[in-house]
């Protein structure tokens, strides 16, 4: 295997994340307490998702510049793994929410719809829906070049519409979710410095893992294409 250092780095970083994340000291905050350790998993999933979607869009732009089908396959698989990361982000978020928001004594949280009307959840839902639509659009076109071109255009357009709204919506709506003012988890006042030494490696580790999965999928896809052509 060539250039395997980043895969090893990914594994090491993730081991460090899990071990350090569960064992190191965390600041005890009211209502959060030990659940704050979920930061190393939940927030990283969203970071990885955004990074993978961004890579996907870059590949779409590359495709439109060169018309090389390889980039379209890249874009598709980065988007797919981004969706997986987003789903995991929801799952970890739901676990976290069970312990912090779902307070039976608080009447505001009684129904699911009251909780779901949450700008971060809406934003994430929009992002996932857009990429589901991207997949549906891809599958609805049979011609290969046409599919690549049209879905690239949609990918760029949707991305350009999506990201402003993800950044804007939480700032205009009321929210329970932390990190409403400014960029969540990047603000220096948001998280304790003792957590940061695990958080940043965790982001890199999860993202590298996502990229690794994607490259495997891409190689499989390229091999299939080769078999079809020969």
């Amino acid at each position: 295997m060539y250039k395997s250092w980043w895969k090893i780095a990914s594994i090491l970083l993730l081991i460090y994340t899990v071990v350090g994340g569960f064992l190191m000291k965390v600041p005890a905050l009211p209502a959060l307490q030990e659940t704050i350790r979920n930061l190393y998993f939940h927030v990283c999933m969203w970071f990885a998702m955004m990074i993978l979607f961004t890579v996907s869009v870059v590949n779409s732009i590359k495709y439109l510049r060169t018309f090389n089908l390889k980039y379209d396959i890249y874009a598709r698989h980065y988007a797919a793994v981004g969706i997986v990361m987003g789903a995991l982000g929801y799952a970890t978020g739901a676990i976290w929410m069970t312990y912090t928001w779902a307070d039976p004594n608080n009447p505001a949280f009684q129904s699911f719809s009251a909780l779901a009307r949450e700008p971060k959840l809406i934003g994430a839902a929009i992002a996932l829906l857009i990429y589901f639509a991207y997949m549906v659009l891809r599958d609805s076109i049979s011609d290969m070049d046409k599919r690549a071109r049209i879905s690239s255009v949609y990918n760029i357009f949707a991305y350009a519409m999506l990201f402003p709204s993800i950044w804007i919506l939480p700032r205009v709506m009321d929210s329970l979710h932390p990190g409403r003012e400014g960029n969540p988890a990047l603000n220096t006042s948001d998280i304790d410095s003792s957590m940061r030494i695990i958080f940043y490696p965790a982001v890199i580790g999860w993202t590298l893992l996502g990229v690794w999965i994607t490259t495997l999928k891409i190689r499989l896809h390229l091999l299939k294409e080769k078999q079809l052509l020969s």
Binding site: L129, K146, I156, A160, P164, V172
Partner: protein, 204 residues
């Protein structure tokens, strides 16, 4: 070029659609409160927009597209389409606003601001859906895929619009001007993206 686009296939069809939908609503509920009124209004706007704008690309035959291709550059073509659909949608918005206030009561406190908002919203909707109609037409699909593609993209703008119009219903709240500017900026971005990306859809 602009004149080319002004063939009104289904103008009366859309008017009838608006009338019929609002009449059904009128039969179903009478005099809803402001919040429900607002929600219903924007959902109806959304569907009117899909129906009105989808026609613009989906109905063009292949020969006609080839003809346009030979006489105009893609940038001009998409700008003409955007402009035409904007005008169409603005007219439709005003009409549906009029019918809504006629049949379902008029909870508006600030009529002029709300009319402005409706025009702005109609503009945003028509821009986004024009471009999506171009994509859907190239994918040779019906209007269903346009809804699938378009709804996630339009949700943020609709949310902003609904919040703004809630402010127009309450006498005490003022309409935040920054949100209005934000919507205008989003619209400008859609136009820019459409001009940049349309040439890639155009080639066949």
């Amino acid at each position: 070029m602009l004149l080319e686009v002004r063939q009104q296939y289904s103008f009366y069809g859309i008017i009838l659609y608006i009338g019929a939908t609002i009449f059904v609503l009128y039969m179903a509920i009478d005099e809803p409160e402001a919040k429900v009124w607002n929600g219903l209004f924007w959902v109806i706007q959304l569907f009117i927009c899909i129906n009105a704008v989808a026609k613009s690309f989906l109905q063009e035959s292949k020969g006609r597209m080839l003809y346009f291709y030979s006489i105009a550059s893609p940038g001009d073509f998409v700008l003409a389409k955007l402009l035409f659909n904007t005008v169409l949608m603005l007219a439709m918005s005003l009409l549906s606003l009029f019918l809504f206030s006629l049949f379902l009561g008029n909870p508006m406190q600030k009529i002029w601001q709300f009319t402005g908002l409706v025009l702005l919203g109609g503009w945003s909707l028509s821009l986004v859906f024009t471009f999506l109609a171009a994509i859907a037409a190239k994918a040779q699909q019906n209007a269903a895929i346009m809804a699938v593609l378009g709804f996630p993209i339009i949700i943020p703008q609709l949310l902003l619009l609904m919040r703004l119009s809630n402010a127009a219903f309450a006498p005490l709240l003022t309409i935040p001007i920054s949100t209005v500017l934000l919507l205008v900026a989003l619209d400008a971005m859609v136009i820019l993206l459409a001009v940049i990306l349309f040439p890639y859809l155009w080639k066949d």
